[in-house]
């Protein structure tokens, strides 16, 4: 009797917090829960608008771009390792472009002190990295590098912060560097990798967030030109064309499937995660 009176008189809303002493019975179910559940079901049955399709395509495009960037490590490595390009020229070229990009964006991603520290660390460690895994066979190195790349792709797909992806990428570069012949090559290779895979994405993200789509398109095209021309040069035009086709399918067709999957099979999302059982966090 008294409880019922209390329920009528109470002013505080029910909250999903265990540590809060609330004037509700233990088996109380909030009306908001049932309401939100029915709304969620209604929403799932609705056809999706084209605007959501566009946003998904954009996300796919960004991911595709990151993967493309990541594969540029192998482009650089092959150019130095197989085609005996002068790494110094490439390094100077990318550094100049990078500086130019930084100046255009007037955005200080990296402070001068940091960049100096990075450069000197690389200079110091290049001889060590060159001899580090000399005795390990090349096959093991390729396998290791392949796995690291897989983890890298996985980490950029899942991770919101880019700490682990950055680390995996540097690790991959360091592993590959031990196959190069001279210390200069090692140093240049690491420098180029860091510039292309760490500075360039930052720059791109900056352009994207400031809606400077023209600059972004230039960078995007530049990436594509380098990569596709490399594929054409090393493997031949048919490979290049099939790669382009595959990319096109990935960007345009796969989002449709994704939407279909999300509508029909996806369980989870904001509502359920809000009402699901949770593990208490101590400390």
């Amino acid at each position: 009797m008294s409880r019922r009176l209390g329920m009528e008189n109470r002013e505080n809303h029910w909250e999903r917090l265990l540590w809060l002493k609330q004037d509700y019975p233990d088996n109380y179910s909030d009306p908001a829960f049932l309401k939100e559940l029915s709304e969620f079901h209604q929403q799932q049955l609705l056809p999706h608008s084209p605007s959501s399709y566009n946003s998904i395509v954009r996300d796919f495009l960004l991911f595709y771009h990151r993967v493309l960037n990541a594969s540029s490590i192998y482009v650089i490595f092959s150019l130095i390792y197989y085609y005996d390009y002068n790494p110094l020229q490439i390094a100077i070229g990318t550094s100049l472009l990078g500086t130019l990009g930084l100046v255009t964006s007037r955005y200080r991603f990296v402070r001068l002190k940091s960049s100096l520290i990075i450069v000197f660390t690389l200079l110091n460690l290049s001889p060590l990295l060159k001899s580090l895994s000399r005795t390990t066979s090349s096959d093991s190195i390729w396998t290791l590098s392949c796995w690291l790349t897989a983890f890298y792709v996985l980490s950029i797909a899942l991770e919101t912060t880019n700490i682990i992806s950055t680390n995996l990428l540097v690790c991959n570069a360091a592993v590959l560097a031990s196959r190069l012949k001279t210390t200069t090559e090692v140093f240049c290779f690491l420098l180029i990798c860091i510039e292309i895979n760490i500075l360039l994405p930052k720059l791109e993200r900056y352009f994207f967030s400031k809606e400077l789509y023209a600059y972004y398109a230039v960078l995007f095209l530049g990436d594509h030109i380098v990569l596709y021309s490399f594929v054409a040069m090393s493997l031949g035009v048919p490979y290049m064309l099939s790669l382009a086709l595959f990319s096109l399918v990935f960007i345009t067709v796969l989002p449709r499937y994704f939407m279909r999957w999300q509508r029909l099979y996806y369980r989870g999302g904001a509502l359920l995660s809000k009402w699901d059982a949770k593990v208490p966090i101590f400390n």
């Binding site: 580090l132 000399r134 540097v170």
Partner: protein
């Protein structure tokens, strides 16, 4: 319920009915002293009383007020032979050494006594009286001289002879000898306690470092304690460290009567072990002396082989891609050369001098001499010390490689946290997320990669030297365990148990006779082997914990050194020695009281 304790010497049936004469013991129990003819019953006086009549057909007619009684048969213990009943197992460990509670003997036959709910002290009193059966009987005869039988008269004349001999002790010659012995004992005690305290002195006492020092310390402590033990057993006035023995005739004695018997066992155990040790020493010493040329040649050759050549070969081998494992060439070469340099250095400076044939022969000579003089344990301890001295370079390698390996693992753990964007929070002792600068991330990752590739090289050196160290530790532990056995084996107690189990009681139990639950037999339970070897099992479990346990394995894996606290380890075996030895002055005061 009243218990009538009945000696089994009085079970033989007589031609005519007999009066059962007894004595009150404990709170309400009765102790049967003797059977006498019927006419005697009105001659006896207090505290003796007539309990009942034993008929010729074996029937017992009780004259007590109550009918609620049980008869407990017992075999009267001979105190002169040091037989006695004890409620608790006697302790071979000195009370101040005994940390754990000795297990209580609780047989199911004890249930009757627990039902009675009487205080255990009353039963202890009864047991004391039972132990004193023969003296009680003697006392009875002294009061009632006319009842004494012929055979018992002879024994009394024998005791008169003993008294006469004791009186002889007051003569002058004996007292001079007495003085001489006392001076000699105190001087010996002074020297031994001095040596012992010298060995235990300093921030790092010598006993912790050297096995020989430990052995010397043990012998010194034994020398210090033996006179005190001797006094406690044979002295007319008891030693100060133990509560004084009451005269056995007092009825109200609440102290444990046979207090000095464990001391007796410990004393002779120690003496026997020392004699045994010297016997072994003589045998081994003679064997060593006879075969010294062969032995020295073999020892010299094998030491050269295993301490220098093999170790050096393995170190070179590890530096050169061992077993096809691709190590980091530069680091492996560096470590290999470092260790080779230490091997060469230690070999040049002292090992080669020690393990040359003439010096080995000299050492074998010395050891055989020491063996014959001081016993096998001294020789074993010298060998153990020599082993640890000669394997010093290997221990050094082990500690160096363990340190490098441990540092590297710690570094890698920290860098791995950085790799995952985390950092150890030392204030809250947990790992928190942290935003790192780009240069920190890049440097950390590069160092992490470098360390990952260098780890196998360091680990393989570490594993090899750990293995070597374990081999040497096994050798040392075997030597030290043999020494522990020779020094502390409960030989005397074991033989006593074989010879006369009633001398080392480990509790009592009641055996039911018949089905009516009124007849029992009091039986002595001899001390269990487990409690005899308790210090050894403690040492064994400590050794296993130190050397073969999951914590040790975990320590090995993360590169923490295997620590051996030898002092603490063998402390458990000093069970028959007091924690703090008596000072010479105390001993002197004690010995003075024994003077006539």
């Amino acid at each position: 319920m009243i218990y009538i304790f009945w000696p089994n010497t009085l079970t033989k049936l007589r031609a005519q009915d007999c009066v059962v004469i007894g004595l009150c013991c404990g709170q309400s129990d009765l102790l049967v002293l003797l059977l006498a003819s019927l006419e005697v019953s009105n001659k006896i006086s207090q505290p003796y009383r007539n309990i009942g009549v034993l008929k010729t057909n074996g029937e017992f007619e009780c004259h007590l007020d109550t009918d609620d009684y049980s008869v407990v048969m017992f075999r009267p213990p001979n105190l002169n032979l040091m037989q006695f009943y004890s409620l608790k197992p006697i302790s071979l460990i000195l009370p101040d050494r005994d940390t754990s509670q000795l297990f209580e003997s609780k047989s199911k036959h004890m249930a009757g006594f627990r039902e009675r709910g009487g205080p255990p002290s009353s039963f202890r009193d009864s047991l004391n009286e039972i132990n004193l059966y023969h003296r009680k009987l003697e006392h009875f005869y002294r009061v009632h001289e006319e009842l004494r039988l012929k055979s018992e008269k002879i024994s009394s004349s024998r005791s008169r002879l003993r008294n006469w001999l004791r009186n002889l002790g007051t003569s002058r010659l004996i007292s001079i000898l007495h003085y001489l012995v006392i001076y000699f004992t105190v001087t010996l005690h002074f020297i031994a306690s001095g040596v012992s305290s010298l060995l235990n002195k300093g921030p790092v006492p010598l006993v912790n470092v050297s096995v020989t020092a430990q052995q010397m310390d043990l012998r010194c402590q034994q020398v210090c304690y033996l006179p005190i033990q001797f006094l406690r057993i044979y002295g007319r006035k008891s030693a100060t460290t133990s509560p004084p023995l009451r005269p056995l005739e007092t009825n109200s004695s609440r102290t444990f009567l046979c207090e000095m018997y464990p001391d007796y066992i410990r004393f002779y155990n120690t003496l026997w072990l020392v004699v045994n040790d010297i016997c072994f020493g003589l045998i081994i010493g003679a064997l060593l002396r006879d075969n010294r040329f062969k032995i020295s040649a073999a020892v010299s050759r094998s030491l050269e082989e295993f301490l220098y050549k093999k170790v050096r070969f393995m170190t070179v081998f590890l530096g050169d891609n061992p077993f096809g494992i691709k190590l980091n060439g530069e680091l492996a070469k560096f470590l290999s050369e470092l260790f080779q340099w230490i091997i060469d250095f230690s070999h040049e400076t002292y090992i080669s001098t020690i393990i040359r044939y003439p010096s080995v022969e000299f050492m074998v000579d010395v050891i055989s001499g020491i063996c014959s003089l001081f016993g096998a344990n001294f020789a074993l301890s010298l060998i153990a010390d020599l082993v640890s001295l000669l394997s010093m370079h290997i221990s050094l390698f082990y500690f160096i490689s363990a340190r490098i390996y441990n540092w590297q693992l710690n570094l890698m753990l920290t860098l791995f946290y950085l790799f995952c964007g985390k950092k150890r929070n030392v204030l809250r002792k947990r790992v928190d997320g942290n935003m790192f600068q780009l240069d920190q991330l890049l440097m950390g990752t590069l160092f992490f990669t470098v360390n990952v590739f260098l780890l196998p090289t360091v680990a393989i050196f570490y594993a090899f030297f750990t293995l070597l160290r374990i081999v040497i530790l096994t050798l040392e532990v075997t030597l030290e365990s043999t020494m522990a056995m020779l020094n502390h084996f409960p030989l005397f107690a074991l033989l006593l148990r074989l010879k006369d189990p009633r001398r080392i009681p480990g509790g009592i139990y009641f055996h039911q006779l018949g089905n009516d639950g009124r007849m029992f037999r009091l039986e002595n339970k001899s001390l269990s082997l487990r409690s005899m070897f308790k210090p050894f099992s403690a040492l064994m479990s400590y050794t296993t914990n130190t050397y073969i346990s999951s914590t040790t394995l975990a320590r090995c894996i993360v590169g923490l050194p295997i620590l051996v606290q030898r002092r603490r380890m063998y402390q458990t075996l000093y069970f028959s020695l007091p924690t703090r030895p008596e000072t010479p002055r105390d001993l002197w005061n004690l010995l003075k009281t024994t003077l006539p």
